[in-house]
Amino acid sequence: MDNILIETKHLIKDYTKPTRLRVLHGIDIQLERGSFSSLIGASGSGKSTLLHVLGALDRPTEGEVIFDNTQISRLTDDELSDFRNSKVGFIFQFHYLLPEFSVLENVLIPNMIQTDTESPEVLERATELLEYVGVGHILNKSAGNISGGEQQRTAIARALINQPDLILADEPTGNLDSVNSEKVLDLLRKINRELNTTILLVTHDASLAEKTDRIIELKDGLIINDTLQILTQK
């Protein structure tokens, strides 16, 4: 049980606007610590919604989300914010860096939200992370003036700055060409191995999913397939 980082129990999510619609029909899922899993499915299958609920961006309509033995669906809004800040790193398709800040500052933002200071240790960690993801040479460039691949790498470094237990990546390569997609996936794999960070990757690209350890397939808000991959690399 201790090896489970996050699990859901009969997770139901309804949208009420514009019309009442059940998106998740009772999902039971467990993610182990240090695992690298992918969530696949067609558009509208509920994979992004599941990711948002797991990352505490959204609340379930019914059911439970338990993170490290804590029922996060019962937390207050402020507690959920703090939870997202310290436990989860998000990587989105559209990168979402803040163009008003430099590359380095963008990586520091989650930490600034938490501590309101820029300690030398964190500054050093941010620099190291940017080196680690391969954009150490553009630290002081404005985040609005770098390429898509560089932006996504910066977003990955940002997701790692608060040393989260879980990284949730929503179509992180969706906006990148195949070369950059490959690089980003390799980077995520490296993070998973070297930092032992649990990663859940949402994608509709089956070939990307093939490279993860476990593939969870959603259809119409239900898990229809859950495959543990035996990878030669492992």
């Binding site: 990352g55 961006l57 997202r84 989105f92 803040l98 163009p99 939200i113």
Partner: protein
Amino acid sequence: MKFDLKLAARFLLAGKTQTGLIFIGIAIGVAVLVFLTFLISGLGEDIINRTIGNSPHITITREDQPLQFAQRNFNGLPVYTEDASRTTRETIDEWQYIVRGLENDNRISSVVAVADGPGFIIRGDLEEAIVIRGMDLETADGIYDISSRVVDGSPKLVAGAILIGTDLAEKIKAGPGDAVQIRLMGEDPESYLVGGIFDLGVQTLNQRWILMNRERAAFLLGFENGVNVIETQVNEVFQSQYIAADWKNLLPRFKVDSWEEANRQLLIGLRSQESSSYTIQFFVLLAVTLAVSSVLAISAIQRAKQIGILKAMGIRTRRIGRVFLLQGAVLGFTGSLLGSVLGVGLLYFFVSVSRTADGDPIVPVTLTVAGLAAIVLITTAAGTLAAYFPARHSAKLDPIEVIRNG
């Protein structure tokens, strides 16, 4: 808070044109505010100063007695004459006691006891109606500043010497050292020596007043050693009606009049000037508030992505609201600082170009740091208030909406 401030500053700096325009807009609004506020208050103070700067603010006399119709003997026949020239001639016997009380009231700056009554001045064939004013020069200077306004002769009120005004001196063709006669109605004239000539800057006073030693005037007017008027000036001129009311309570048998009662029309004029100033201030502030509000509302929409991602990264809802309030406050504060500098510059320019023939400013403007600080403070508050709705809008933003729609 440090990070919130940094975010606010970056959001403002990112939209340079937008921020620059609103910044200039606030500065111009505040410059107008500063200019008009100090100009109108300077104008008001100047009018007050000219009107009551050298006249009593509170006057204490006996309640009117039926003395306005006085019985006199005229060629052996009783004749009723109307004493229309001035106040009652009932004396205040306990005046020294009252003067001491007034002097101990720290709201009151000057107290002058006056023996005051009508009479005539005669020189040769010329005769003029006058008001005899007997007072101690040192105390009288507290209100009338007579010593420094004696333009010819000596500012001294030794027994037998009088001071007369410039207009009267011209009329009766008398100067320092000349002998004149003064008589009360129906009484024999007495001789006096003109010691000096004063110019109080008011024609009626220069025409009618003759100043003499208080004891001498009291004797002449038949007051024994008494006075019939006590005049005072107060520190806060607009408090005089309240101070007068307090003294009326202490002296129920006396008339206690404040300048405010005697100058109702002037006060109405000043008040309407003041309220026109408030109206202008209100609308300038309203314009500033609406401008800041609309600019921040646009900024909130433009920064929706950033706000969404910040919320996803765990910034609390309240802090997002605070970032926008801070933007409003920063705009209000910096804009009003620049506006204050512009407004003060405008005032200096106005004062330096609008001068009288003597080179004095037409409107003496007194700048106060407290006044400027109040304007900066109010504008900052207005800017912060203006950010309220954009702040609420941003705080309510659902990060999923932003993430989903790119």
